[in-house]
Amino acid sequence: MKNLNIRILISAILFWLVPFISMAQESHDSLSVATTESVESAEFDAGRMIMDHISDAHGWHLWGESEIPLPIIVYSPERGLSVFSSGHFHHGHSTYNGYMLKEQKIVAVDEMDETDAHHATINESLTANLYDFSITKNVFALFVSIILMIWIFTSVAKSYKTRPNQAPKGLQSLIEPLIVFVRDDVAKSAIGPKYQKYMPYLLTAFFFIWINNMLGLIPLIPGGANLTGNIAITMSLAVMTLIITVFSANKNYWLHIFAMPGVPMWVLFLLTPIEILGLFLRPFVLMIRLFANMAAGHIIALSFISLIFIFGEMSAGAGMGVGVISLAFMVFMTFLELLVAFLQAYVFTLLSAIYIGAAVEEHHHDAEHHDAKVEEALII
């Protein structure tokens, strides 16, 4: 009952957040509409600025024209592997090695020497076959978070070895309650007695999402990358949950998908496609939820910043006035995002655990089954 209450509470919070997310998207849309009219006049383009910040890039933008170049690794079956610094592109103004940047995407060009990118001819057939393994901004942030995670958790593991059977201390006492939380309130309650096998994945997913969410809130390098608000990241995580669910599913689970017991034949024609769709819909929703929540958080923060510049272009006074209000809202949003950072990590892990739990669950009572379904429907 206690767990049910927590889940209901969390789903309520999620619903409560929906207006914020939609508000952010609205403000973003209105900003881009407003700014498309003023594209020619080199004015501040909020929509473009926000989209640039939340999407991936081949360099780490610091300020103005300063940018940390990142390695470009691109493979083409015809040209082979090329590795060079993104600094050679000069912010997309020149070609290098037969490649150029077009809206932060690498495209192949016919000119092999360094020329002006604006006059280069794009080779469409080569571009279609490109494999871009570049260390982009998000890949770099991913590596940073990986190193951070390995450092944090191996050092925590070490303190368990040096101080066995003692109360946690330092970093250990920050991490331990979270591990116990994932173990007891996520894995044990959602999966049941077979939870131990799935603990490494759930813990890794939880801390990966949480740490990257938090890093995304820090505006300075190496934070500030919108990693968990990138669809590629959330897709990878959701697909891993799907793969684990599918590979650990028992006969009972498949039976409930393909031939729900106690249901007339003609209903099955309707129900089975829905169940099969549901199998893929669940990880899809996992992917969209994390992506949308984190991207929205960045969009909201950037929107408040944009407001300052939009009003600043009208008059310095308006910019100042709006700046104060924007700053207050940004502080509020950052606190909210701190909560969301944890909440989204928790929700992703909990739902993954629930899906895995449904897949490994032994034959259960019908009423219980009904409860679980209702709960799941509520949370989605």
């Binding site: 939340i54 990986i146 368990y160 490494p200």
Partner: protein, 164 residues
């Protein structure tokens, strides 16, 4: 919309990186941490159980002690009672014995006294007889010293004889 298209390169690095993290952390972090947590949970549980057991044992020990004490007290009372009985018995016995002895002695004494008395009486009787004879002899001797008197006596005696 470009934002909703997963980039190939990022997906590649993400899957690779995540799997490496998953592998390394499983081996070097999650397993040791979870094992340590389980171990600690177990040791706490064991300690609690041991404390409960110790408490029970203490209670048992206390009740045992009380039982022992009660038993000892009972034993003491029993021994005291027995001693009292034995003492009474000994005293009574001694008293009886002494009484019996005294009685015996008294009887003996009484018998002795009686015997002595009887002997004395017999002796006295003999003495008296002897004395009487002697006295009689002396008296006879005196009275028969002159003839007159002898004749008177004889006459007296004869008188008696005649009367018989």
């Amino acid at each position: 919309m470009e934002l909703l298209k997963p980039a190939f390169g990022l997906t590649f690095w993400m899957v690779l990186g995540f799997l490496i993290v998953l592998f390394l952390l499983t081996k070097f972090a999650w397993k040791p941490i979870l094992n340590a947590l389980n171990e600690r949970d177990k040791s706490i549980e064991d300690a609690l159980n041991a404390a409960i057991k110790a408490k029970d044992e203490m209670a048992n020990l206390k009740s045992d002690n009380e039982k022992l004490l009660a038993e000892a007290r009972q034993e003491r009372d029993k021994i005291l009672k027995e001693a009292r009985v034995t003492k009474d018995n000994i005293i009574n016995e001694a008293r009886d014995k002494a009484t019996a002895e005294a009685d015996r002695l008294l009887t003996l004494a009484r018998e002795g006294i009686h015997n002595e008395k009887m002997a004395a009486i017999t002796d006295l009787k003999n003495q008296v007889a002897l004395l009487s004879v002697e006295i009689a002899e002396k008296i006879m001797k005196q009275q028969l010293a002159d003839d007159g008197k002898q004749k008177a006596l004889v006459a007296d005696l004869l008188k008696d004889v005649k009367m018989n």
